[in-house]
């Protein structure tokens, strides 16, 4: 009986081990002193903890620069798209222009169906024409735009469920629609807003394709591109590369540790609805 109970756990624990081993490997390797040590005992605890690898990587890989760029770009585009999506969702769902609303909703929905890389080249040419290639705008604009369909979708669904009485009471009190939005609806939508923000933040943080080709100035690069460049430059110093990986992944994991429910919910619900 116990054995029967144990079997699913055994299988699942084995799977979890497969899922986690690369992370364990990377952390251990990042603290090792040489490639030889990594080769001999991949999962062994490092003999001495070479914490200086982290300092070295920070400097050599200019992780500080890439990290800052990623944070600032992800944060601003996630915030911008969340707010814009909220405003649009509010307008479509609550304001009384039903036909226009429906039409806008459908248009925005189409965006969910276009695979990411189909627009890549055309967006590149567009960014070139706008003259913002190789600036942060080149990423900020597509990231914000790209996050809008999902944001509008999720926020519209949420806002639909807000009771009409609130609106009516606020209007009786003399609030304009903008005031209603800012003072009442927005605060109420906060949970959904946070979810949308996090999902967009993660999307921008992890994005590689556009970040790689739209920005070539090193000082403006984001983490994904920076890491690949680091890997290409320091091919043979594996400990250093692992340190770089830890730097890139740690913030995401930290975010996940605190907000896992929100993150899981946001990412999965979005996919289903879309």
């Amino acid at each position: 009986m116990l054995l029967k109970r144990a079997v699913p756990h055994a299988v699942l624990l084995a799977y979890v081990a497969v899922v986690l081993f690369p992370f364990v490997f990377v952390v251990f390797s990042s603290l090792k002193g040489s490639n030889v040590e990594i080769a001999e005992s991949p999962f062994g605890i490092p003999k001495t903890w070479h914490v200086e690898n982290y300092a070295e990587a920070w400097v050599k890989a200019k992780i500080g620069v890439y990290f800052f760029n990623s944070v600032y770009l992800s944060f601003t585009s996630a915030l911008a798209s969340a707010l814009l999506a909220a405003a649009t969702a509010f307008a479509i769902v609550r304001m009384r222009f039903p036909r226009a609303g429906k039409w806008i909703y459908q248009t925005v929905l189409i965006g969910m169906f276009i695979p990411g890389n189909v627009l890549f080249i055309a967006q590149y040419l567009l960014v070139m024409k706008l003259g913002v290639l190789n600036t942060h705008w080149a990423l900020f604009l597509p990231y914000t735009a790209g996050a809008l369909p999902l944001g509008v979708l999720l926020l519209a669904a949420f806002m639909k469920s807000l009771p009409r009485e609130l609106e009516e009471a606020a209007i009786m009190d003399g609030l304009s629609s903008a005031g209603l939005f800012a003072k009442i609806v927005l605060p109420l939508t906060l949970p959904a807003l946070v979810t949308v923000f996090i999902v967009n933040f993660l999307g921008a943080w992890n994005e590689y394709l556009l970040a790689n080709f739209f920005i070539s100035k090193d000082a403006l690069r984001t983490l994904p591109t920076g890491m690949v460049g680091f890997r290409d430059a320091f091919q043979t110093n594996y400990a250093l590369i692992c340190t770089g990986i830890v730097f890139s992944v740690a913030p995401v994991l930290a975010l996940y540790a605190f907000l896992q429910e929100k993150i899981i919910e946001g990412l999965t619900v979005g996919s289903v609805k879309g």
């Binding site: 490997f25 806008i104 890389n117 627009l119 055309a122 890491m227 590369i241 999965t268």
Partner: protein, 294 residues
């Protein structure tokens, strides 16, 4: 007096930026792609209209045909290998009482990490001389496999890495659906004497067919979208063994001698494939699995 909720100024203000950004970065690129695909623009000189020749060239190039097949392999692998495993693991997690939260949280982790970082990470794991995978093989006496350097191993290696990254995501998705099945149904079956497996096969799986259908569609879309992992791990090599349509497109359009006309043609081909495959699925199995309604 106009009702505040009918205020056209606010309405416009609230939707204009969104529509502007969206139009600029979604609709306009769709349109311009459709235009450039019929030219041979390389960014420098004036372009000429070349009709369908970009498309003809693409399909005529054996490397591109291989890329198409590789995309299909990705999709096939996702649907026929990953999905059964996903359902299995989801069922297992749903069947245990303890540690459920732990399992759910841990398997989901790889899907939130950047694909490019995962590419670097696994590139390291596959490293022929120092990587842990070959060290493991050495324990069993198997020779070092040059995972990413040999044409016959490179694609399986990338497929495995891709699976590792995304399976957790789908497992959690399916798990949510399984847990949403009303308990009474299972309890009734238990009363009727159904075993765990019988319940799983005859009750749970049929009831979660809609979500599995979603997973299939997402897998198709994902299989067409694959590009980051390939670019970072192998750049499409060796000798095109891991080239997918999107990486082919990127290499052609952004290489030393860019051909934007050709590149956008490929982008449209990718889009068309995605549409066609999804439609085929929808009209054959999709309808049945979803009960005819989406």
């Amino acid at each position: 007096m106009k009702h505040p909720m009918r205020n056209p100024w606010i309405y416009t203000l609230f939707i204009a930026p969104t529509l502007l950004l969206y139009g600029l970065f979604f609709l306009w690129p769709m349109l311009s792609s459709s235009f450039y695909a019929f030219t041979d623009w390389n960014g420098l000189e004036n372009y000429r209209f070349v009709g369908w020749s970009n498309f003809a060239d693409a399909f005529g190039d054996p490397d591109f045909r291989r890329a198409i097949i590789n995309n299909l392999i990705f999709i096939g692998f996702s649907v026929f290998v990953q999905i059964p495993l996903i359902v299995l693991f989801a069922l297992l997690i749903a069947s245990v009482k303890r540690l459920r939260g732990f399992y759910k949280t841990t398997v989901f982790v790889p899907s939130i990490v950047s694909t490019s970082v995962i590419g670097i990470l696994w590139g390291f794991i596959y490293e022929p001389e120092i990587g842990p995978l070959n060290r493991l093989l050495a324990l069993f006496g198997a020779g070092p496999i040059y995972w990413l350097a040999e044409p016959k191993w490179a694609l399986p290696a990338v497929l495995i890495t891709n699976a590792w990254q995304w399976m957790g995501f789908y497992i959690v998705l399916v798990l949510a659906a399984i847990l949403a099945i009303p308990r009474e149904i299972h309890e009734a079956a238990v009363v009727d004497g159904a075993s765990g497996w019988q319940r799983a096969l005859n009750i749970t799986v049929p009831l979660i067919l809609p979500i599995i259908s979603v997973v299939v569609m997402l897998s198709i879309a994902g299989g067409m979208r694959v590009v980051d992992i390939v670019l970072v791990m192998t750049k499409g090599g060796p000798v095109g063994a891991t080239e997918v349509m999107a990486s082919y497109m990127v290499n052609e359009a952004m290489g030393v001698d860019p051909n934007y006309g050709f590149g956008t043609a490929i982008a449209l081909i990718i889009f068309a494939f995605a549409l066609v495959l999804t439609s085929i699925y929808q009209f054959t199995f999709g309808r049945r699995m979803q009960g005819g309604e989406f």
